[in-house]
């Protein structure tokens, strides 16, 4: 599959790769330059492969209260958004997502491309006829993420909108035909813009004109990793709970009578205490990659995401290790063990190194 911006990417010399069945830009020349552009100025990502799904109807809130680990009641005004996860009965993570309240009885959730199809089947099987809620996958909507310290100013110029001062983090608004959420996946300030296929190309051109740097999935991955943000399929999976994915904070136990899917299993795990945790590793003697073995003083673990951090100039990773592990660790990089250090993510905050 191709996004409506496919030709624009090719024109800019993008190296296109397959991602979950979509032809997506990996980079437009230098992934590292793209990464820095987002940390220092503003970059944009075509993430139209992600799938918005609208939930509309009298029972849409009740349905989401069943499907999601977070209490949707907390979205107490139109436009409010929350990051959360959708769990299976065992408390494993099916997907992570951002859910927006559009209106009373009307919500929009944005799912990952790789899991969207399975997510939809799951949602439909749980919704059945018990709920008065229509579930509409919005294949017609495209998404551009504009991220970086200059993102809001540049996007306002491109959209001919006065400014986004009134748009707080995790809030959304409508600007003409554009749905704009102050959200992202880079650890920088920024917005994500949803629009139809006939608007996205001119929006892309306007953003290029005001100096927003096009960025591919490669930079998106190193940016989210530096920011300590999980990637579904790597750091999260249907056999692992949010409690072992540093996502306890998205699980709302109150109110007690909200019986979301996975609650009972999670509750058991909470009582006995999770065995593992997802944490960070920094290391200078090589580049960590997913799947590498980690040895700590209290047992072994595994790297779930690893790469080179362009901001720090050495390797950073997320790893699942025994819950009590701290301090030094060793990571097996090909044939050799390299010494690393367990640290709490993020690795980079507002463009600056977090751990000395």
């Amino acid at each position: 599959m191709k996004t409506p911006l496919h030709n624009n990417h090719v024109e800019l010399g993008a190296k296109m790769v397959d991602f979950a069945g979509w032809q997506m830009p990996l980079h437009y020349g230098s992934q590292i330059e793209e990464h820095h552009s987002v940390r220092k100025a503003a970059g944009m990502f075509d993430v139209s492969h992600m799938l918005p799904v609208d939930f509309v109807g009298a029972d849409s809130k009740q349905l989401l209260q069943l499907l999601l680990a977070s209490d949707v009641e907390k979205l107490n005004e139109d436009g409010r958004a929350a990051y959360t996860v959708m769990l299976n009965e065992q408390g494993g993570i099916l997907d992570d997502l951002i859910v927006y309240r559009l209106d009373v009885g009307s919500y929009r959730a944005i799912f990952n491309a790789g899991s969207a199809e399975a997510d939809l089947k799951w949602i439909e099987s749980k919704a059945s006829s018990k709920f008065d809620a229509s579930i509409t996958p919005r294949h017609d909507l495209n998404i551009l993420a504009v991220q970086g310290p200059d993102a809001l100013d540049k996007a306002a110029l491109a959209l001919e909108h006065a400014n986004f001062d009134a748009l707080k983090p995790f809030r959304s608004t409508q600007v003409n035909e554009f749905f704009v959420g102050r959200t992202g996946y880079t650890g920088e300030d920024g917005i994500e813009i949803l629009c139809g296929s006939d608007q996205i190309e001119s929006l892309w051109q306007e953003l290029l004109k005001v100096g927003v740097h096009p960025c591919g999935l490669g930079a998106r991955d190193t940016l989210r990793l530096e920011a300590g943000l999980n990637l579904n399929g790597n750091d999260m999976s249907p056999t692992i709970s949010p409690l072992e994915s540093s996502l306890s904070w998205v699980v709302d136990w109150e109110p007690e009578d909200r019986k979301f899917i996975g609650r009972d299993s999670l509750n058991t795990e909470r009582t006995t205490g999770p065995k593992r945790k997802l944490t960070g590793i920094v290391l200078t003697g090589g580049i960590m990659r997913a799947g590498q073995e980690v040895t700590t003083d209290v047992g072994t673990g595994v790297v779930t995401s690893g790469s080179y951090s362009p901001t720090l100039g050495y390797s950073v990773a997320l790893a699942r290790v025994p819950v009590t592990a701290t301090g030094k660790c060793r990571v097996k990089i090909r044939k050799r063990e390299q010494e690393g250090r367990l640290v709490r993510p993020p690795f980079v905050r507002k463009g600056e190194k977090v751990h000395k």
Partner: protein, 132 residues
Amino acid sequence: MSDTPSDLRYTKTHEWARLDDGMIVVGISDYAQDALGDVVFIELPVVGDEVNDGEEVAVVESVKAASDIYAPVSGSIATVNELLDEQPELLNSDPYGEGWIFILNPNNSEDHQELLDSHSYDEFCSSEENEH
């Protein structure tokens, strides 16, 4: 289109080799650096090691993946480019110049002649491209 200087020899694993006063200078081709993307870390060979042709001697890590570097001919490692410890990006910006990786003292300097010439290497790269 990648740059493939005609005065060098090449391998199917994308190293280049230049015969220089009886020694063989080794790096990776422009085609290889382009495919790898931004190079961020290099594990250099150990000076003095005896290596056989086709043996893994170094590792080049780009942002996206690790890639092994093989000895193009048999010999011993004479020198390594320590500048790459600090500036691995030289492999991208100047693969045939400052981005050289190591120098081999070959057991037999005629082995160099057995490697691919630039024309055959270009053909090999385009056949590889077509497979993808």
